[in-house]
């Protein structure tokens, strides 16, 4: 399945629009990572644990979006956007959405 954040797919024609598809996941960090993060809050620098966590969560959101697109009979998702929001203290929602289409 083609995933793209452009409005078109170069070299391909869009045959059918199937509407919006979306996938989201809410994740929170575990205690060990939190401890490391609070240390890093003093020293500064990259929080590798968080980077990985958010990356995994985003992949999960994309996977869910992809499943939804597949269920709708699409073979591509175009104009994909990501959004992040912190729901409560220490938890984040990762959200991916796009337009499911059928390419020729």
């Amino acid at each position: 399945m083609v995933i793209s954040n452009m409005e078109i797919i170069p070299g391909k024609r869009i045959r059918l629009h199937l509407g919006l598809v979306q996938g989201s996941t809410v994740r929170t960090k575990h205690f060990g990572r939190d401890l490391m993060a609070s240390l890093k809050n003093i020293f500064g620098g990259e929080l590798k644990g968080y980077t990985e966590l958010l990356q995994e969560a985003r992949e999960e959101a994309v996977r869910r979006m992809q499943e939804q697109a597949k269920a709708a009979g699409a073979n591509a998702v175009i104009n994909v956007r990501f959004s992040t929001s912190s729901v409560t203290q220490g938890a984040a929602e990762l959200f991916a959405y796009g337009t499911a289409v059928v390419l020729e």
Partner: protein, 154 residues
């Protein structure tokens, strides 16, 4: 008295380690920016028409960076009088450049030399008890165009 000693220790630790981390990070960013110069990130929505036939792949890069104790203290002081918070500006600059670099790294891995429709997203993910920004996440994403073998239309 102990409070003051603890505060000064934290400030000193934050200053030295934070400064070291920042200098090291900038050095590596500048070096890698040279290295990934041939992967071009373009903010245009769509590629120019009538070009070679490409396959499109979504690529992204993200990073979470925390600010150190000293800079947070400075920012707290700054918010009393207002004005530019230089301490946070470098944090955001570093995060954006790092995210873009990671995106380019992924683009090169899939064999692309151009990435279109770049979007940058910034989120503050952890807030400390007093409501200040603890760390920020920057996500950069775009569509990498990979040349398909034999797909040259010219």
């Amino acid at each position: 008295m102990y409070d003051i000693i603890a505060l000064v220790t934290l400030l000193a630790l934050g200053y030295f380690f934070g400064r070291m981390a920042e200098l090291r990070h900038y050095k590596s960013i500048i070096q890698r920016e040279q290295e990934y110069r041939d992967v071009v990130a373009i903010a245009s929505k769509i590629p120019p028409p009538g070009e070679r036939l490409d396959a499109s792949i979504l690529v992204s890069g993200s990073v979470v960076i925390s600010v150190d104790y000293f800079k947070r203290f400075l920012a707290g002081l700054r918010s009393l009088v207002g004005g530019r918070i230089v301490a946070y500006e470098s944090l955001l600059d570093r995060a954006r450049r790092e995210a873009l670099l990671r995106m380019k790294q992924e683009a090169r891995k899939v064999g692309a030399d151009r990435v279109f429709n770049i979007k940058l997203e910034t989120a503050s993910i952890s807030r400390n008890a007093r409501g200040g920004i603890g760390s920020i996440e920057v996500l950069a994403y775009g569509t990498a165009l990979v040349q398909v073998a034999g797909g040259d239309q010219n």
